[in-house]
């Protein structure tokens, strides 16, 4: 989060300052990548790139504070992820039977991820094992730093439903850790 200087950074970026826009990008892109790696794991880089292209196109007309900026960014990413999902649904990939065994994708076991030293990638992989809504709500609350009301508007649910989804997701994470026999 940029904090108090966000308004000045945003204004400079809107007026053409490449350094200011770079600061915005560096502040938000890690969180954006972690979000899209959960909601669109196979096309995360493409979704992130198209998200930033759309943000660049609409940057001059954006008005709002840092919370609104992040809400706009993640709303754009969510819509791009949905578009990619629809596109992939219309054009399904080939059958996995055609893929040689050595090239089969391997999903890391959640328990293994839980007992190892928690890194960012491991945490993202653990979140990806949750139901999509729960994982998305947790990411938007924790990674994007959005409040419950903003997340509710973003995902099209009530604030109460967002709270419930977040707590269910966290409890599921706790269960995964407990099942793995983690002791600190």
């Amino acid at each position: 989060m940029i904090g108090e200087g966000f308004a000045a950074v945003l204004a400079a970026a809107q007026q053409g300052s490449e350094a200011a826009f770079s600061r915005l990008w560096r502040d938000c892109n890690p969180a954006l990548m972690r979000y899209v790696r959960v909601v669109a794991p196979n096309v995360a880089e493409d979704v992130a790139a198209e998200t930033w292209l759309q943000v660049v196109r609409g940057l001059a007309g954006f008005r709002g504070d840092e919370q609104a900026w992040r809400a706009w960014l993640f709303t754009t990413a969510r819509r791009r992820a949905i578009d990619y999902g629809r596109h992939r649904a219309r054009r399904p990939a080939g059958a996995l039977d055609d893929v040689p065994p050595g090239l089969m994708p391997v999903t890391p076991d959640a328990a293994d991820l839980a007992i190892e030293r928690i890194g960012t990638r491991s945490a993202v992989a653990l979140l990806a094992g949750l139901p999509t809504t729960q994982a998305e709500v947790i990411l938007l609350r924790v990674v994007a730093g959005l409040d419950t009301e903003t997340v509710a508007q973003l995902v099209g649910r009530s604030p109460g439903a967002v709270r419930v989804a977040a707590h269910r997701g966290l409890r599921r994470l706790a269960e995964i850790v407990a099942e793995a026999g983690v002791t600190l």
Binding site: G16, E18, F21, S22, W25, R26, N29, P30, A31, M33, R34, E45, A48, A49, W52, L53, V56, R57, L59, A60, A114, I118, G119, T120, R121, S122, A123, V124, L126, L127, I138, L139, R141, V142, V143, G160, R163, V164, A166, H167, R168, L170, R171, L173, A174, E175, V177, A178, V182, T183, L184
Partner: protein, 242 residues
């Protein structure tokens, strides 16, 4: 269907039936995790582990998460509706170089046209020195200098003057003043006067080739020109004899 006496654990596929929303949102550990508050001492170890997971989600950026900055900045630089400083600066540095060449060429051409125009005007006004006037006569067909036309093979008889001083125009000049390729000893009318073109004129008109010398002797009667040497209109009989 299961009744109220059936434990929730009998429905493993529907776990939400045994976890009410109120109890979930009221869990102090979960609320603390989401609020980034300090974990209570009584927090279960797994909840503390969850806290570590969430902390890892907000850790500093990895290298691959900042890999696409160049592409995004390129898109930022080329976004529509924004002036691009680099090409404009380049154009500004080149602007003084290329537009100067046409300006110089135009100035040179304008000077040449003005000079030639002044030269031609002076030549047709016979304001040039005799050699220069002769040169203008050869080049652009300007009339020769008076009194100096004897040196020209295209000039008429210098003595062919009318009674009022009208002189014979050099033979071989067209009504436009152009040099005629066939020199003739006959004095002809000046192209700028109607006497030369055989139009009815006053007796003061000169240059009528009534004699081989082209004398400007006035005659009371108008005679048609007997020879084809007249430079006036051949269909009209000249009236203005000199």
């Amino acid at each position: 269907m299961t009744g109220r006496d059936v434990p929730d654990d009998d429905m493993p596929n529907f776990p939400w039936l045994r976890r009410r929303d109120a109890s979930e949102t009221a869990d102090p550990s979960l609320a603390a995790v989401l609020a980034w508050a300090q974990f209570p001492e009584s927090s279960a170890p797994e909840m503390q582990r969850v806290g570590e997971i969430l902390a890892a989600l907000t850790a500093g950026p990895a290298d691959d998460e900042l890999a696409g900055e160049a592409a995004v900045l390129a898109a930022y630089r080329s976004r529509p509706g924004v002036p691009r400083p680099a090409p404009r600066t380049h154009r500004q540095t080149r602007r003084p170089l290329f537009p100067l060449l046409p300006a110089k060429a135009a100035a040179t051409a304008a000077a040449a046209v003005i000079s030639f125009g002044a030269f031609a005007t002076a030549a047709y006004a016979r304001a040039l020195p005799a050699p220069v006037q002769q040169l203008a006569h050869v080049i652009i067909g300007a009339p020769t200098a008076e009194g100096k036309s004897a040196t020209s093979p295209y000039s008429g008889n210098p003595g062919a003057t009318g009674p009022n001083g009208a002189t014979g125009q050099p033979a071989g000049t067209s009504p436009t003043g152009r040099a005629h390729p066939s020199p003739t000893p006959h004095a002809t009318g000046r192209p700028s006067t109607p006497q030369d073109s055989g139009q009815p004129t006053t007796p003061q008109g000169s240059g009528q080739p009534t004699t081989p010398q082209g004398s400007g002797t006035p005659t009371p009667t108008h005679k048609p020109h007997p020879t084809p040497h007249g430079t006036g209109k051949p269909t009209h009989p000249p009236h203005g004899n000199g």
